[in-house]
Amino acid sequence: MTTMTMAAALNAALADSLAADEDVLLIGEDIGTLGGVFRITDGLKDRFGASRVIDSPLAESGIVGTSVGMAYAGRRPVCEIQFDGFVFPAFDQIVAQVARLHYRTGGRVRMPLTIRIPFGGGIGAVEHHSESPEAYFAHTPGLRVVTVADPQDAYSTMRAAIACDDPVILLEPKRRYWGKGEVDTEVTTDLDSARVLRPGRDATLVAYGPLVVTALEAAVAAEDDGIDLEVIDLRSLAPLDRGAVAGSVRRTGRLIVAHEAPGTVSLSSEVVAGVVEDCFEHLEAAPERVTGYDVPYPPAALEEHHLPGIDRILDAVDRTLGRRSSREAA
């Protein structure tokens, strides 16, 4: 058990995966000599060599497309897309090829790719460095889409994603890269299940990725009002662990979902639809969604208004409890 940042935990998971399986290789821009713009791959090229930690030309479609070919040749590529906003040149290879090859070939061709993408905002960055594109991928059958929330989860989930024979989009919350936590490298995890991080009685707060920390903070702040929140980290966005969410909402009767991505046609739309289908008779109040607005990611000076924070989340919680919120007239 060691205390480390999430960045260090991801680095350790990559190193351990490279050491454990000769077929694993990394490919991405600036990952080798530099060690990655966030240092996630720091030291790995020195340790495992340039043919297993590949600095790629500046071409995202090329990174993913060549990885498809490497998978045909029996390798297990781990692609890095440098920032969320840069994934779109690769979107065609991901959606038209990576997601479909297993289905297309009746299971003969496997795509055990892991595509790592730092995502989310809250770092004061310029355009295209704070995106949350998870819905595009969760909407694509044939892909697993997974997020992580803390260093331990990052280590174990990365190991599981690389070992998984399905293509995995692994979304890393970049604003949490420097947060620290305890990591036990013996701990293993699956890729499917949500986890209840904080049990509670009054309402179910569902979050993932960068907002898990925010959700837990909201739960602490809610105690001041006598409200006891249950916090669930979804972890897997595709497939969604509907059972975990439904089990919780059947008990609390109330659902709030929070994420950075714009709310329309988003993961929260899906979670709410699932809860309505699974728990309709148990709902004591309409589900609430606390999300980014339906705008392109705004300039950094405005991002704290755009991103869900403690106050906006608890305002929604108040509505589910029938307490006065910002939306009622005096």
Binding site: T5, A7, V37, F38, R39, G122, I123, G124, A125, H129, K174, R175, Y177, W178, G179, R201, D202, V213, E217, A218, V220, A221, A222, D224, D225, G226, I227, D228, R250, R251, T252, G253, F280, E281, H282, L283, E284, A300, A301, E304, L307, G309, I310, D311, L314, L321, R323, R324, S326, A330
Partner: protein
Amino acid sequence: MSDFLLPDLGEGLTEATIVAWHVAVGDEVTRNQAIAEVETAKALVELPSPRAGRITALHAAEGETLDVGAPLIGFADAEADATTVDAPAEEPRLQRQQVLVGYGPVLPGSGRPRRRPRTFPTTPYERPAHAGEDGPTPRAMPPVRRRARDLGVDLRTVHGSGPGGRILRADVEARAQGGTCCAGTGTPGADAPDGSGRGSHTVPVTGLRKQTAQAMTDSAFTAPHASVHVTIDVTDTLELLRHGGRDRDRTSFLAAACRALVPAVGRTPAANARFDAEARQIEVFDEVRLGIAVATARGLLVATLPAEAAATGPALTAAIAGTAEKAREGSLSPAELTGSTLTVTNVGVFGVHGGTPILNPGQSTILAIGALRTQPWAHRGEVALRTVVTLTLSFDHRVLDGAEASAFLMDVAETLAEPASLLVR
């Protein structure tokens, strides 16, 4: 003195380590002069002075790690030499990321998370008393929840008669009011649905009423019903009941009638049985578990009396009253709604002399007790005014024939009219 805070030097960094100071306290520096070298997770960075001035404080030692937003270096203010102390913070200092002026969410670990106070008054959340029990919330559709809220009914106290225990609107209304389902509902004066031109209003059949209707239909069209009846003089029995037992606890007439059933079953076991159509056999129950029909606002239901209640007259009287109350409240448990082997229905409360009840499905007999009434009667060879009651027994003709049913009824009647006769039968 004014402090320069450690900025976020690389898009979301949270801390930096002072590697070397290039200035000392007291030094005069120019704007952009290199004052320190710091190391972040990404790079070694030289920091230029944000302004010209005199250094009054270095807030960290070489080798020390500072959080972004923490004071790094102090400058003398332009006006005075004397340092003015910063107003002491009243709360733990919130550390803000100084990426841009005015920007910065609170970093984790910099004080207990709190929500901002609201501009309207707030009170702590009062959790309903029953909430938080492990187990699911009551099941109800949103319009029913709304109705319950409007009527001030707590759903957790309502028994749900819908599928899977779902609470229906009728359940809520019955809990709240106790009116019959047909009073004042629907649209008066509307045309009858059959287009016959007769004015009517419609009442939806839901919930208990729907269940009862279904059960009645099943029973009536499955078991061949026949009935026998007898009217008996119970004047003396009533006198006996009025005086009460040794300890003066009253036994009701209904309880007495129920107790009269038990020895009769002993002589006609088929009265405490059911016809098993699938196996094409008669299943005779080992024990008598009495079911009592109760009329509630939601409709008719049969409540099973606890087995031990039949032990004494007063106990049974209390049990009948208690069960009936629970039935009307809608708080009978599932165990109390099933498991009876033969049923008694007290139609007398409605004033009628008798009736031909329909069997409770899964049983072979049902006894209807009419109203106690005073009538001229043959008593000791003369005409006298006596209190009489009519007992009607409906039975499943597949299980009992007329002779058996009659014998059963006569046993009950005789016990009820002349309790002492039990000793010699």
